[in-house]
Structure formats: structure tokens, C-alpha cells
Symmetry: C2
Subunit: 208 residues, 2 copies
């Protein structure tokens, strides 16, 4: 059975080659400027081959979006396991911001672009598949917020909507930046508006 296992490995390797070529092109020239033909060229295979390994473009985008979440997970490893949960929460936000700034295209794919989720909806078993990657990441945030509440922070607040709101703060600022809504504005310090904005949020957290 040595040929069968080898074939399986080769299939997986080509799959990864296509994925990594696509990712490289995305970062180099933007997602919307990358075509299937570009990806095929970059892998030295034909368009038809790409479609053997991926159902359609959305499938590629979904797989790359999943890779993005795994990379975000890598960033989160930086969080020092300090005792104070509020301190961990603050670090989470900072790292989330850092990831978005350093990987704007990946961030966009993970949290803004609709295609990856369309691919989920298409393989509908019961109408709508769950967004596992998003759920997982949100649960990390939510459990940190819960730790805060348990330690006496955020009195009078509710865990889930508070977590969503906190997600909204960082996501909102990241997305305004990535979707060029900060560039068109005339900030006093445009190059640091993201971290400056986040600092204001941290000040609020200290008062709560």
C-alpha cells in the first residue's frame, strides 16, 4: 500500500502549494486583484487542476481564512499568563490589534470578507453551518471577560454583550483602518491613531 499513501501525501502537498501560492498573491497584490489564473500560474499547474483540489474560489478563501485564525492563535501565545484577568484582557486587545495591522489582508479575510462564510453556508446540512473559528476566538475573549467579572471587575455588566462590545471596539478600529476610512480623514497623528484609540479604551477599563 505504499503507492496509495504516497499519493495521498502528494495530494495534500499540492493542496498546500495552491493555498500558500494564493496567500502569497493575496499579500502581494490584494485579494480582489488575485485571480484563479494567477494562482494556477504561481503553482505551475493549470486552472483545471486548481478546481480538482478546490470546489471553487470560496473554498480557497475559506481555507485561507482558517489558516488566518491559526496564525492569530500563534499571536495569542504571546499573552503572558499573568494572574490579573483584566491585564490579560488588555494584552489580548493589543495583540489582536497588532495582528490586524501586521496582516491586514488576512484580517480582512477572517472578519470582513463574506466569501469564506458563503462557503460555510453552501455545505449547509441544516441550513446554516457554525462558524467554528469565530466561535473559538470569541470564547477565549468571553472566558477572559468572565474571569474579570468573577474577580470583581465590570460590576453591573453582562458577560456576553460586554464581550461583544469589546470585540467591537478593536474590530471597529481595525476595520476602519483596513478599509481606508482613517486615511481619508485628517487625524493629528494618523500613524498612531489605532494604538492611541486603544489607549483611550484602556483608560476606560481602568475606571470600570
Amino acid at each position: 500500500m505504499t503507492t496509495a499513501t504516497r499519493k495521498l501525501r502528494e495530494k495534500e502537498e499540492l493542496r498546500q502549494l495552491i493555498l500558500q501560492s494564493a496567500k502569497k498573491l493575496f499579500v502581494e497584490k490584494g485579494i480582489e486583484n488575485t485571480t484563479i489564473r494567477n494562482i494556477a500560474d504561481a503553482t505551475d499547474y493549470s486552472v483545471g487542476t486548481v478546481y480538482v483540489y478546490f470546489k471553487d474560489k470560496n473554498a480557497i478563501l475559506h481555507d485561507l481564512h482558517t489558516i488566518g485564525f491559526s496564525e492569530l492563535g500563534g499571536y495569542f501565545l504571546e499573552i503572558s499568563p499573568v494572574d490579573d484577568p483584566l491585564e490579560r484582557l488588555k494584552q489580548m486587545g493589543r495583540i489582536y490589534l497588532k495582528f490586524a495591522v501586521e496582516n491586514p489582508d488576512m484580517y480582512d479575510l477572517m472578519f470582513n470578507i463574506k466569501e469564506p462564510l458563503k462557503h460555510l453556508a453552501e455545505k449547509e446540512n441544516d441550513g446554516c453551518e457554525a462558524w467554528d473559528e469565530g466561535i473559538g476566538t470569541f470564547n477565549i475573549l468571553k472566558s477572559t471577560v468572565k474571569d474579570c467579572i468573577d474577580k470583581g471587575y465590570f460590576s453591573g455588566h453582562e458577560e456576553e454583550p460586554l464581550s461583544f462590545m469589546i470585540w467591537g471596539v478593536v474590530h471597529g478600529m481595525c476595520t476602519l483602518e483596513i478599509r481606508k476610512r482613517t486615511k481619508g480623514l485628517k487625524f493629528n497623528r494618523p500613524e498612531t491613531i489605532l494604538t492611541d484609540g486603544y489607549k483611550e479604551f484602556l483608560k476606560m477599563l481602568d475606571k470600570v
Copy 2:
């Protein structure tokens, strides 16, 4: 000169017809599912005519994005001119949220879709045109925040980054919703997560 002025009016009328047809199609079937041919059909004119009145698709998207800002301005008229600036700030956020929920496609066009700003960049005089609509709206927010600071709220905070952060909160939650990142998650009360999240932010404001 009666014919010349009538022609001018007729040109403007057709221009508006195209814009309104486009807007209707956007709302009905989504922006990315609306083609120039759709718009031409809806106006009972040909594709070529559309291109007489608009340089390209981005020009249409930009004009519609501007209309969106004017509609948002209409929503803001609801804000009661109450003395307490913090109360006005809270209302602003609520209305911003309401606008986004009631006009998701328009909101997306105004704050997420890149094409309207691409159109701005294309008529570059000096490299990059200013995003007047965004600047105007942000200034309203910023001056309300300034009023708050002047009345003793937000001590220790800086006007501009604080305003950006507040924008981020509401924009972030709206965009997670519009870009289907809340649907994939399993919230306890999915239908009210936006307003619930905003309520958490209001609680924070009351402590600051």
C-alpha cells in the same frame, strides 16, 4: 435660453433616475449582485447611456455613498438638543446603530466598501482627495466629545483618539453584524446583540 436650462434639468433628472434605480437594486439584491446592465434595464436605458452619465461603476458607488451620508444626516436630526453633551453622545450612538441596522447596504457602502474611496483617489489632484463625508460626520462626533470633556466628563482622555475609539465601538458592532460575523456565532440573544452590546458601552460611559 429655455431649451438649454430644460436640457440641464433633464440631464440631472436622468442622473438621479440612474442613481435611484441603482440604490433600489442594491437594497433588493445586494450591491455585489447588481450589474451595470441591471441598472440600465431598470432605468429603461442602455448600458452606454449609463456611461454617459457616470465615468464608471465606482462613480455610481461614490454618489450613492454620498447620498447615504445625507440620509444619515437625516437620522441625526432626531437627536434632541438636550443640554447634557454626554446624553447627546449616547443618542448619537443609538441613532448611528439604528441607521446601520435599517440601511445595512448603504452603511456598508459608506464605511466598508472600498470602491467609493477609489473613485476619490482617481481624481487625485495632489495624490489623495479628502473624504469630506467621513470628515464631516467624524467632526460632529468629535465636537460632541469635546463638549463632554469641557463639561468635566472623560477626565484624562484625549478628544481625538477617544472619538475614534467611540466610533470604533459602534462601527465594529455594526460591521460584525452586516458582514455576517454575528450570525455564525451562537449568541444567547442574537436578535438584540447589537443594542445589548451598546448598552454595555453606555454603562461604561456612566462610570467615566
